[in-house]
């Protein structure tokens, strides 16, 4: 196939796909002509005159978000260890547990965090505690998968040598695997913490505490100067946490 034919074929696929996907969008000219000025007014309300008097509450809620992320990530970091061990192919000898572990982790990872937040709000009431649990359970999915992959990269010779001495999987994990993988596990947990700072600032929209809670509140009240302050503070927090965490992870590697 010459490049010309190939790019023509690509266009034949892409253009109808694009037209189909845009067709249901209901984009009318009036929607655009009123939307953009409205967005511009909103943006200038938000960022030209953020409501600094609202800062004490923003600060309090930001701290709550960080606490949700920290505790949720820590709990997930510990709860994910048995899942990771189960899902790793080289530790538990038969293939069935690894398969089950991987499917389980995949299911946890795909289950929407927002729904977890709703479920825990049902049981624990509105607030940060529900957020901690939603973040913790959701993060097990990704951490367990990363753990399992890391354990699978451990030198199999040492594991087999210990297996022949009759060592139990628990003691193999404790003495042969954990010392080697621990720095990487800590690094994964820190990375997940970055992501959780983001989600802990969003799940509050449905009532699970943190900065998202006042974000939802001020959004409903259409108080843009306050929303502006919330958005700026959230983005700054995310950037600062990302930078610090990247620095620590660099030193761990």
């Amino acid at each position: 196939m010459t490049p010309k034919v190939r790019s023509t074929l690509t266009l034949i696929v892409i253009i109808p796909l694009l037209l189909w996907s845009m067709a249901g969008m209901d984009v009318t000219p009036s929607r655009i002509t009123t939307g953009f000025p409205k967005a511009a007014t909103m943006l200038s309300d938000m960022f030209a005159h953020p409501d600094w008097e609202y800062w004490p509450i923003v600060q309090q809620r930001l701290i709550e978000s960080l606490q949700i992320a920290a505790l949720g990530t820590f709990l997930a970091g510990i709860l994910a260890v048995p899942f990771g061990v189960l899902a790793a192919r080289n530790l538990v000898r038969s293939p069935a547990p690894s398969g089950i572990g991987k499917v389980l982790l995949n299911a946890i990872r795909t289950f929407p965090e927002i729904l977890l937040a709703y479920a825990f709000i049902k049981g624990l009431g509105l607030g940060a505690f529900a957020g901690v649990m939603a973040v913790a359970i959701h993060s097990i999915g990704m951490l367990g998968k990363l753990y399992a992959e890391r354990i699978e990269n451990v030198d199999n010779g040492a594991i087999e040598a210990l297996t022949t001495t009759g060592a139990s999987p628990v003691s193999i994990f404790r003495h042969c695997i954990l010392p080697e993988v621990l720095p990487d596990f800590v690094s994964f947990v820190l990375y997940r913490f970055d992501l959780n700072v983001r989600s802990a600032s969003v799940i509050g929209i449905v009532g699970a505490g943190g900065i998202g809670f006042i974000l939802g509140l001020q959004y409903q009240a259409a108080n843009y100067p306050r929303l502006g302050l919330i958005v700026i503070a959230t983005i700054l927090t995310v950037v600062i946490v990302d930078t610090i965490s990247a620095k620590i992870r660099q030193r761990l590697a």
């Binding site: 929607r31 299911a107 649990m133």
Partner: protein, 263 residues
């Protein structure tokens, strides 16, 4: 303890100790701040589990055919349109954000930082704001994911452009061709497979994101999810979750198969 003496002396792990102390302090502070309490958790667990139990089958199939399919299709459409147009917009910007092709270091720095900034905006927040500017529906959801896809594809592609072989580009430059022509003929052929791969990757993430955007009024299956949660109809919440999971899995599998062949 006698064996320990035979080993070479390790320096006392001060850093580890300090790290553990800081972690412990942060955790205690977080437990207090979030009112984390295992007794409350044990007390509330039955209610949490009731939510999940309510989601389980049997699922009435007429809900799937009657109410679920149209918003699900809308979700896919939003994700598809956003990733295609977002990627198209990202292509020129990716060139500007890579040190190999950028005309000067100012353009490079400004676009790089802009891309980093865009990726920090939570998509749900962006969708909520756009929904109040443009009115609720699929369009604000599409705009939010457009911004997101643009950010992701431009960032990944810029990193790829930095690793290319400069030979073809320099060869074209000697003929006196403009920078745009150099990028079009000297660089683009080298990164075309990655460009498509990143677009597909953005599409995968967009499908997941598009399923929750409806919670803030930005169209798709999330709108239905929100009403079913509000009606406490957990069976339907279960169906929506399961069907979404299936669709995401199918799209992920298809997309990652294509991506593996490309790169």
């Amino acid at each position: 303890m006698t064996t320990a003496q035979a080993l070479p002396k390790r320096p006392f792990p001060w850093m580890l100790l300090v790290g553990m102390a800081i972690t412990a302090a942060i955790l205690i502070w977080s437990v207090q701040g979030t009112k984390f309490n295992l007794w409350v958790l044990a007390d509330g667990m039955p209610n949490v589990l009731r939510f999940f139990k309510g989601m389980l089958p049997p699922w009435p199939m007429d809900f799937v055919t009657g109410q679920l399919i149209p918003p699900m299709v809308e979700t896919i459409r939003i994700a598809l349109a956003a990733s295609m147009l977002g990627a198209a917009l990202a292509l020129p910007v990716a060139f500007m954000a890579s040190s190999t092709v950028a005309p000067n270091k100012w353009v490079y720095q400004v676009t790089r930082n802009l891309l980093n900034l865009i990726r920090t905006i939570p998509d749900l927040v962006l969708a909520a704001l756009l929904a109040s500017a443009f009115g609720i529906g699929a369009f604000p959801g599409f705009l939010a994911l457009l911004v997101f896809s643009f950010g992701v594809v431009a960032k990944l592609l810029a990193d790829t452009v930095e690793t290319i072989d400069r030979g073809p580009m320099d060869a074209i430059a000697t003929t006196g061709a403009t920078r745009i022509l150099q990028a079009r003929h000297g660089v683009f052929p080298q990164i075309a497979p990655e460009f498509i791969a990143y677009t597909l990757y953005a599409f995968e993430i967009n499908v997941r994101a598009a399923t929750v955007l409806g919670l803030v009024g930005a169209g798709g299956v999330g709108v239905l999810l929100k009403t079913q949660i509000a009606f406490l109809n957990y069976t339907n919440v279960g169906i929506i979750t399961a069907v979404t999971f299936g669709v995401v899995m199918i799209i992920d599998t298809l997309s990652s198969n294509i991506r593996r062949r490309l790169v």
